[in-house]
């Protein structure tokens, strides 16, 4: 079987992502359950890359058969990623605003946690 560059890179990226996810578990920043969910996700990516025929049934479901359709779907994917990125940024900004309001409340009541103990 002749492997394309994508078929080599995608499984490697999946492997690195999985190693990172499980390292977060060992550092107690991620739960085992979350790591299992990530494992399923990245394993599916790697499997589809190595065995592309495994998703031929999608051509029946989606009707994507030719390059033109594939281009449209690719751009939809790019748009989805942009929306996802914007949602993430909004979430970050919201969290930052919340942290500021919470700090202010604690400061005004002289009940700020003592960070020097950590």
């Amino acid at each position: 079987m002749e492997l394309t560059a994508y078929q080599i890179i995608a499984p490697l990226v999946s492997f690195v992502a999985l190693a990172y996810a499980w390292s977060l578990v060992f550092r107690q920043k991620k739960t085992v359950w979350e790591a299992i969910l990530w494992t399923l996700f990245w394993s599916a990516i790697a499997y589809i890359a190595i065995v592309p025929d495994s998703i031929t049934y999608l051509t029946k479901v989606t009707g994507i058969k030719d390059r033109e359709n594939a281009v449209v779907v690719t751009f939809l994917g790019v748009l989805f990623f942009i929306v996802f990125y914007l949602v993430m940024r909004l979430e970050e900004l919201e969290q930052r605003q919340t942290r500021m309001i919470r700090k202010l409340a604690l400061k005004q009541s002289d009940l700020e946690p003592d960070d020097t103990e950590e």
């Binding site: 991620k30 739960t31 969910l37 993430m88 919201e94 919470r102 202010l104 604690l106």
Partner: protein, 226 residues
Amino acid sequence: MEEKRNIIAVIPAYNEASRIAPVIRSANAYADTVLVVADGSTDATESVASDAGAVVLSHVENCGAGAATMTGIEAARSMGATIIITLDADGQHDPHDIPAMLLPILEGTADIVFANRFGQRNKIPLIRRIFNGVGNIITFAVTGKWVADSQCGFKVFGPRAVREVDIRMSGYEFCTEIVREVMQHRWRIAQVPTKVLYSEYTMAKGQSFGLGVKTALKILLRSFLR
């Protein structure tokens, strides 16, 4: 040497001036201090809570129940709390259930105690039962832990949980995050059947379907971003 016990009740409140005073008075009977976090309230919540004997902290803007609860927990830690009770400000939870909720912590059999509104005969509207059921299923899907009433704000944190808890989610989704904390820190849990008092007021203030969907999406998004 046994740690000196300091029980602090944390009540996040948003525009609850008409309901919060009796909750504070009842909670005062079981806690050394009652701490109210007024979450951007535009009514008299702060002054009513203060008059009823609570220590009051104020958010300048409404941030959500999760953010208010974490502010209360951090303030309680600074006040040397060894046990923290969280309960709603609208009178939905009966503070007389606090002794039963404290028992597993005092006996040393649990690090966190969840109230279970479905554990005894309570008059709970069907729509609430459905919302809570969906909340339980989503919580199980993202944490791998089944809790009979994961979305209830009435909880007791034991000394270990008080030290380790770190809530980052601002809104109602913090209830799911606490279950995640249970899994991450491997806390022992207990679930105690409690009373719940639903009224037209609490029904009107509770989560709508739209808010429920938004909460569910946030939980799924955040669990992916971690």
